[in-house]
Assembly symmetry: C2
Homo-oligomer: 300 residues x 2
């Protein structure tokens, strides 16, 4: 019997085939499949291409795949349309498989904990906390996207860096090393150039998130404004975990971390650990794509 | 001698012809001319059409216009391209005129004060404070647009209303009457529907700003979360005025108000008055389009 996991993240799709004892038979990486970025039809085509290529590399026939767990960014199973869309997309390639429509953050949780139980705290371009308790109930906090939420995320930190730079340029806000850091990183001479830079279409969500390391670096070097931004981000992320614990009665459960900002040791990840009484950065057990395959195994 | 003012605001362009004693000869209102929304060529065409129509209504020949003061949203004279563009656009219709390229906020200041001196505090969809001192030096604080700034503006208040609704839905933030107010105003049943509503293209800047009155109403009715948003907005707007005073040595100068949020009596405009020790809402002397004409007169 073979099981497949599909992890449609922000920049790639990963597909993996395993046996029930978690031996990896084949793994394939293809281009990003977020349906809100490229449309549902193109996203479905790319997922199916990646599945076929992965099956071919494994030397298998599509009919041999008994189960598929799939999570795709922008197509969380919170949405009825996404459940149907994920099922239809996967079924077209693997007609014999028991399909488990999930979400990118759920397969990350399952991968990190090795089971569908616990808390995941994610801070990359966006941010969210997700939890599943022993009764199988789940809860999501955050994940509202760059305008409405994403507190403590890379976009949030990057946008705050731009805002404190603008406030310093106005004479409204305190001096901060972030002003020069931002101008240098974006190769701009005049802060007014931030305006045409920022308001281009499509929205510069990734480009803004890429400024987050400037905040972490400036905080490390003692800039008070940057330090204060990191403090607020850490409090927001901690609040998200505490809200999940409260909603799911998961008191005492420590989260696994995901996303570029929490996967490395830096002032933000360290402060979140401190606020949550965690001695060190937690080490995820498996990858998200393995999490998808584990969901498929559990559903057999 | 005839003088013309042109006020290219967010939703209309107003053109006015006056005599030097400020008698209005003709006034015309046409469609919006913001070049970053409709492109520079189309914006220039609309401005020229409005000028020609205004001159026709005044029973004049274009050659009789001796001076034009022009301010257009999205084409502030802070930008070299905009100065050239405003001059070229206007010159094509009124070849004999002395042209004064200005900005939408400067003609508003000149109109409100009756002269190019003083402070203007604007809070509509966006926000800014602008000042001109006795030496003719000017300074702008804010005006960075909806992503980077606009603290205390309609967009800012509307987005904060959406954010506190999302935080309440998550169980992360306190209960607030703004949750039900937002859901009712947007005719949504499930807070998750906020996500597709908000992230449509083009960005829903005006639609978000239209939620600001919900915050003012909820604050009036005693909602603590709404009250706290109004408090923060009032502090941001007050800080902008204080920064202008400091930068231009305009201590003691009270601002004139502009924009939908400050042009009426409401919890925000009242609190800004209180923080700035103003006994009541200030009454602008003239309109922005008259401010443009006044700039043209002063340059004769």
């Amino acid at each position: 019997m073979y099981l497949m996991g599909i992890d449609g993240g922000g920049s790639t799709v990963r597909v993996m085939i395993i046996t029930p004892d978690l031996t990896v038979r084949a793994e394939y990486i293809g281009p990003a499949v977020n349906p809100s970025a490229i449309g549902r039809d193109e996203a479905a085509r790319r997922i199916q291409d990646a599945m076929r290529e992965n099956i071919r590399q494994g030397g298998l026939a599509p009919e041999q795949i008994a189960g598929v767990g799939v999570g795709v960014a922008g197509a969380s199973n919170r949405y009825a349309w996404a459940v149907d869309w994920l099922r239809t997309t996967v079924h077209a390639v693997t007609p014999n498989a028991n399909i488990v429509p999930s979400s990118d953050f759920e397969i990350a949780l399952v991968g990190a904990h090795g089971q569908r139980l616990g808390i995941l705290l994610l801070a990359g371009t966006g941010s969210l906390a997700y939890g599943v308790n022993g009764a199988g109930d789940s809860a999501l906090v955050g994940g509202w996207g760059y305008l409405l939420g994403d507190e403590g995320s890379g976009y949030w930190l990057g946008m705050r860096a731009l805002q404190v730079a603008a406030r310093m340029a106005d004479g409204r806000g305190p001096d901060t090393a972030l002003y020069a850091a931002v101008m240098t990183a974006l190769k701009l001479d005049d802060p007014l150039e931030l305006i045409p830079w920022l308001y281009q279409q499509p929205a510069r969500v990734q480009d803004v998130a890429r400024l987050a390391p400037l905040v972490l670096d400036s905080a490390t070097q003692g800039d008070k404004v940057a330090r204060s931004l990191v403090d607020t981000a850490a409090m927001e992320l901690t609040l998200a975990v505490r809200t999940i614990r409260h909603r799911l009665d998961l008191h005492g459960h420590q989260p696994m971390f995901a996303g570029s900002l929490l996967s490395t040791a830096n002032p933000l990840s360290e402060q979140v650990c401190q606020l949550l009484d965690m001695p060190s950065l937690p080490t995820p057990r498996y990858t998200p794509v393995m999490g998808g395959a584990l969901l498929a195994r559990a559903a057999q």
